[in-house]
């Protein structure tokens, strides 16, 4: 069974279309990275999946209708929104008590173990914690829930590099332990590249790219071209070209690896580079301005 199944998903706020007929199917056990520029509709898409927003079209999350069955769905789903939302008056111990009191799949010992690795005191109020500590607390609460679907909207915003690394490692460990599905959005794409199994680019409420990471690696290739072979490489129609330390780096989509290898140094591009290329071309195509990059 697909974990998330959507057909013709649409959501408009007044005249602004946030989701423009999205078809989506996320199988159980995948780790999907949702990448898009600001205002692309990422958060709206997540809100719709989480039952926080009404929508048009068909949507089933773990077999449920999120809009009418949010409370039941939340037994199997947990999420972190993109800003600190823990109530500022709450004490750490109260947060633990409360989640333990309402969530059947919350493992308090696990949350305590997460917290023990931080400098967060049990009696502190959320308002007394730093921004990073609030995020740590929230992650500790969420990661201690044995959920089937985990939705993370900019989960590591405001965290230092050390904790971000720790977080993604523990996310990965957890993922391997269980049959969990994870949907994550972040602007720090390079940090999650090795974690993802699936990738989706979204822009102006539409899906621009939707592929597995294996497809991604097979499909996109980056070529460092010496000046003498530049013309030959350009003839293969790269989707993007940039300068890197005085050398030309060309990005190719669906071009034979052997053919490219003869022209220079090949490597797998970063998600960020492909994102820039695809989004640039997409913007060019939709606005019909033909931006030359």
């Amino acid at each position: 069974m697909a974990c998330i199944e959507a057909r013709g998903l649409r959501k408009a706020f007044g005249t602004t279309v946030a989701l423009d007929g999205i078809d989506l199917s996320v199988e159980e056990g995948r780790i999907l990275g949702l990448v898009g520029p600001n205002g692309a509709g990422k958060t709206t898409a997540l809100n719709v999946i989480l039952g926080l927003t009404d929508y048009e079209g068909e949507l089933r999350v773990l077999g449920r209708n999120p809009w009418t069955e949010r409370d039941l769905l939340m037994r199997d789903v947990c999420f972190i929104a993109d800003v600190a939302v823990l109530p500022r008056w709450m004490r750490v111990s109260q947060a633990l008590d409360y989640v333990a009191g309402v969530h059947p799949r919350f493992d308090r010992a696990k949350a305590e173990a997460f917290l023990a690795k931080t400098s967060i005191g049990h009696n502190s109020k959320v308002r007394e914690l730093s921004k990073g500590m609030v995020t740590q607390l929230h992650l500790a609460l969420i990661m201690a829930i044995d959920a089937r679907l985990l939705v993370l909207d900019e989960p590591t915003l405001g965290l230092d590099i050390l904790y971000r690394k720790q977080f993604y490692d523990s996310l990965l460990n957890d993922y391997c332990d269980r049959n969990r599905t994870i949907v994550v959005t972040t602007h720090q794409v390079e940090e999650i590249q090795h974690v993802l199994t699936d990738l989706m680019f979204i822009d102006r409420g539409r899906i621009v790219l939707n592929c597995t990471m294996e497809d991604f690696e097979a499909r996109y290739l980056e070529l460092m071209v010496p000046p003498d072979k530049l013309a030959a490489a350009r003839a293969l129609k790269p989707i993007h070209e940039r300068q890197f330390f005085g050398r030309n780096v060309l990005l190719f989509d669906k071009i034979d690896r052997n053919q490219l290898a003869a022209l220079g140094e090949l490597r797998t591009p970063s998600i960020a580079d492909v994102f820039v290329a695809v989004m640039g071309n997409h913007a060019g195509a939709t606005t019909a301005q033909g931006v030359i990059r």
């Binding site: 039941l72 004490r91 990965l172």
Partner: protein, 309 residues
């Protein structure tokens, strides 16, 4: 993709075993979280009672002199003198309860949207109806109970201290206890709090909750303006004030349904005669509760669609 699953094949990818789910009490914990957040629910009555108690202890010195002339001669006057501070603290608690409830209701569904914590609450398996019901329980059950308990605790302290003062002055403690009829006063206070301060004005509190869940700012204004507008319009168009009367009786209309009182005495006066059957059969009560239920349902539906502001 991980080394773990390579070294221990089949262990981690064994079919998902449903873990033993821990038992949960979403309603109880939602209610508890309201009391955590709105500490004024118990702090305000406690503070008022503490201030009152100080005032009472100061005036206690003059009590023996006042009682000496009337004890055994004028029981009615005697009761008036001893009961007055007990009625005062009961009245103060009622007033505090109303203020606490009103301020609570105005903020209950607005505050969680303003501080964005609604996203956290909604990330947990608690339905909007459970959350709103827990919030409605605060003015309808928690505040009456807290103000009742505070009033009784204060009155107990007052009674003990007064008894000691009378003993020290050679006055009869027995007369005090008989005349005060403390137990009866307690029952009447509890009865009055629930009939007149919780169930009867329930639609008012639930209306405030509904507006609190709807308004993007100035909740109090939005709660009052429509009422004033409708009442004003009715006055201008029909030259009547039925709507204003209807709303008005929600604040003060319960007493003559709930009890019969000789003259204009305080609701906890032992002369008060409870008419529970008449109260429970008055259409006003049930219509009011029906409207309150409709407001609660609407507030729950509204909360589903509401995000942070």
């Amino acid at each position: 993709m991980s080394t773990q699953s390579n070294t221990m094949p089949g262990f981690f990818d064994s079919p998902r075993v449903e873990p033993i789910l821990s038992s949960t009490h979403p309603f109880m914990w939602s209610l508890r979280r309201e009391v955590w957040e709105y500490r004024s629910i118990y702090l305000a009555p406690a503070a008022v009672a503490a201030v009152f108690l100080c005032g009472f202890l100061v005036t206690l010195g003059r009590l023996p002199a006042k009682l000496r002339g009337v004890e055994g001669i004028d029981p009615v006057r005697y009761r008036e003198i001893v009961a007055q501070p007990y009625d005062m603290i009961a009245g103060l608690m009622m007033l505090t309860g109303i203020l606490v409830s009103v301020f609570y209701c105005v903020d209950a569904l607005y505050g969680e949207r303003r501080d964005r914590s609604i996203l956290f609450w909604k990330s947990l398996p608690v339905s909007d109806l459970t959350a709103v019901l827990a919030k409605a329980t605060v003015p309808l059950l928690v505040v009456p109970l807290v103000t009742f308990a505070t009033a009784i605790a204060t009155q107990c302290i007052m009674l003990i201290v007064t008894s000691l003062v009378l003993l020290a002055n050679g006055l009869s403690v027995g007369t005090l206890w008989v005349q005060l009829s403390f137990f009866q006063m307690t029952i009447l206070l509890l009865y009055h709090l629930f009939t007149a301060h919780a169930l009867w004005p329930a639609p008012v509190y639930c209306w405030l909750l509904l507006v609190s869940g709807w308004a993007r700012r100035a909740v109090f204004l939005w709660a009052i303006l429509p009422v004033l507008a409708i009442a004003g319009l009715e006055r201008i168009v029909f030259h009547t004030s039925n709507f204003a009367m209807l709303v008005g009786t929600r604040f003060i209309g319960a007493t003559h349904h709930a009890a019969v009182q000789p003259g204009d005495v305080f609701p906890t006066n032992p002369m008060t005669h409870i008419t529970l059957a008449r109260y429970l059969t008055s259409p006003g009560l049930w219509l009011g509760l029906l409207v309150a239920a409709a407001f609660i349902y609407a507030a729950a539906r509204l909360r589903r669609d509401r995000g942070p502001i």
